[in-house]
């Protein structure tokens, strides 16, 4: 299910045989993938599927078996150097709470060679986050805005966001992603996002990876998703016919039968009911449940 022939540019991230064990339990089972530059990747999976472990390996936060290269470097060996060109938000509450916003920016100016205090201040213009405010006194949404301002002010080639909007209300979530797209993304930058609220980021993704039980079950461009997968709301009179084609997933919604097909001609399905492209969440449910008993 991989669609690796996407770009001729040197990949930003390469993983070959990426495995991770905690004790006797193997969490990642030999992942292979390339992430080219200038793309917006979504990494989606259930809780415990291995998303964060994969990101931790990419960010050099954990040891692993296999080979991982990020911007040509081994992330576990060269994390500190790599972080000059990689930024990440792992959790909205992870900023040091004892600092004031002004102190945080001053600190980053001296620690991070690619951080621009001017840009960070600019990103905070129009928000309720004041420079003299103590981070511990900011609301969850304000901390998210501040953290986003911090990472966007870092001139990084790769931005990794692990559940960046967890616990935020819908207004903040939408503002967060809009800001990211409008003020940060360029063709040179690559964005890798994991989230459970997959419908909220679907519009911005160029590529998608589904991970289940430590293995990639889908890795492809969004354009390919829409040509390869089809959702059919079957005409009740032709239900048996549709089922005979072999949907990868089927469920009943409000009395209607919805099916997801993989690689079936859309025109053929159109004769059996209403066809559409499944949303990522529908596809996710379909692919996650396939093969389960």
């Amino acid at each position: 299910m991989n669609d690796l022939a996407q770009s001729t540019a040197a990949p930003i991230i390469t993983a070959r045989g990426l495995r991770k064990r905690f004790g006797n339990a193997e969490i990642l089972h030999g992942l292979d993938f390339d992430i080219p530059p200038g793309r917006i990747y979504g990494l989606v999976g259930h809780n415990g599927a291995g998303k964060t472990t994969t990101l931790n390996a990419i960010l050099g936060l954990t040891s692993y078996e296999g080979t991982v290269r990020v911007l040509g470097e081994d992330p576990f060996e060269k994390r500190a150097r790599l972080m000059q060109n990689v930024a990440f938000i792992s959790d909205v509450a992870s900023l040091p709470r004892f600092l004031r916003v002004r102190e945080l920016f001053a600190l980053l100016t001296n620690i991070h060679p690619n951080f621009s205090q001017e840009k960070a201040r600019g990103f905070l213009d129009g928000t309720d986050v004041k420079m003299e405010a103590r981070i511990r006194n900011l609301s969850k949404g304000m901390i998210a805005q501040l953290h986003l301002a911090v990472v966007m002010a870092i001139d990084a080639r790769l931005l990794v966001l692990d559940e960046p909007t967890l616990g935020l209300d819908i207004t903040y979530r939408k503002r967060f992603y809009r800001r990211l797209l409008e003020d940060y993304m360029t063709e040179e930058r690559t964005l890798l996002i994991t989230t459970h609220q997959v419908d909220e980021i679907e519009f911005m993704l160029s590529d998608i990876m589904f991970i289940r039980d430590g293995a990639l079950v889908l890795h492809m461009q969004m354009e390919t998703v829409s040509t390869r997968y089809t959702q059919l709301i079957a005409d009740p009179a032709r239900l048996a016919e549709a089922q005979a084609i072999g949907p990868i997933y089927q469920e009943t919604r409000f009395g209607q039968t919805a099916m997801v097909f993989d690689g079936v001609d859309r025109e053929r399905l159109a004769t059996l009911g209403a066809v559409s492209t499944p949303t990522l969440s529908d596809l996710f449910v379909a692919l996650m449940q396939r093969g389960e008993k």
């Binding site: 936060l61 500190a80 972080m83 709470r97 004892f98 102190e103 600190l107 980053l108 620690i111």
Partner: protein
């Protein structure tokens, strides 16, 4: 260097309570006590003391209070290292610090250096202010009692002598005790708040085991505990220092420092610094593999 300075400043911002606010409070209390002592005539300068009694009282008071400040510094540093090496785990901040282009060793080394540079400087400043309070108290008491008041030059000369002795003595003591600070720092990295009891429990149990297994062999209490007893003692014994102080005229730093330097086991001193560096290295190796948020 810019990064290291910024990280040391970060330590100051996070831990200034013990090294700035608490000493300031102590100084205010000391000032109030001294002022009320002078106002109510509670300080009696003994005329039978040496030729310049007021100066001698100033020297004695300054040295005694400096010794208390030094004890405060050592205790505060012990608690500082027990906290600072795991402080990044608070409020999920570890992953923020790991997103910075600084190695784990760099972060921990900055904590170690903050405790051996900036914080002692703050306490030395408190010692200097204490000397000023003692100067004020001594001079006003001498005036009240009609005892000759030493000249400002005599006070300054004395202060320089005491200051030289205290600065060098504290610097040597900090380096002498560096492996103990690094030990509790390593334990903090591994066991967080349990580092304080474990810092004593582990050598205590090891000493007990040695005594049980190799009874009657080696020195009284066993090799380990008698070594630690010896290693915890810094410089000459107090009595000799006291005699040196009481028999001399105005305090002279040179002979006292000479005695202090001669009393140090320099092989242990150098070995201790190497052990301290290795302990910080071990702590950073563990921290590097830890992604606990």
């Amino acid at each position: 260097m810019k990064t290291l300075t910024a990280l040391i400043r970060r330590e100051y911002l996070e831990h200034r309570g013990a090294f700035l606010y608490a000493p300031t409070l102590i100084l205010v209390v000391l000032l109030i006590i001294t002022a009320s002592g002078v106002a109510f005539g509670r300080f009696q300068l003994d005329e039978r003391m040496a030729l310049l009694p007021a100066l001698k009282v100033f020297e004695f008071g300054t040295l005694a209070l400096s010794a208390l400040w030094a004890l405060y510094l050592m205790a505060a540093l012990f608690f500082y290292y027990a906290d600072a090496f795991s402080a990044d785990l608070r409020n999920n901040a570890m992953l923020f610090w790991k997103s910075m282009p600084v190695s784990d060793f760099g972060i921990l080394a900055s904590k170690m250096l903050a405790g051996l540079s900036l914080f002692p400087l703050l306490i030395l400043a408190a010692m200097l202010l204490t000397a000023l309070i003692v100067f004020g108290g001594t001079s006003l008491s001498a005036l009240t009692l009609g005892i000759p008041v030493p000249s400002l030059f005599a006070y300054l000369s004395s202060l320089v002598q005491i200051g030289s002795f205290v600065v060098v003595g504290v610097a040597l003591a900090l380096l002498w005790y560096a492996p103990f600070f690094a030990w509790v720092g390593l334990l903090s990295t591994l066991f967080r708040r349990w580092s304080i009891p474990l810092a004593f429990l582990i050598p205590g149990l090891a000493g007990l085991a040695e005594n049980l297994l190799f009874r009657n062999a080696g020195p009284d209490g066993g090799y380990l505990l008698s070594y630690l007893r010896h290693r915890l003692q810094f410089g000459d014994n107090r009595m000799e220092f006291g005699e040196g102080f009481l028999t001399a005229g105005p305090f002279a730093a040179g002979p006292m420092l000479g005695r202090l330097v001669a009393s140090i086991d320099w092989a242990q001193f150098a070995g201790g610094l190497i052990v301290a560096a290795l302990l910080v290295l071990a702590a950073s190796a563990y921290r590097r593999r830890s992604v606990a948020a």
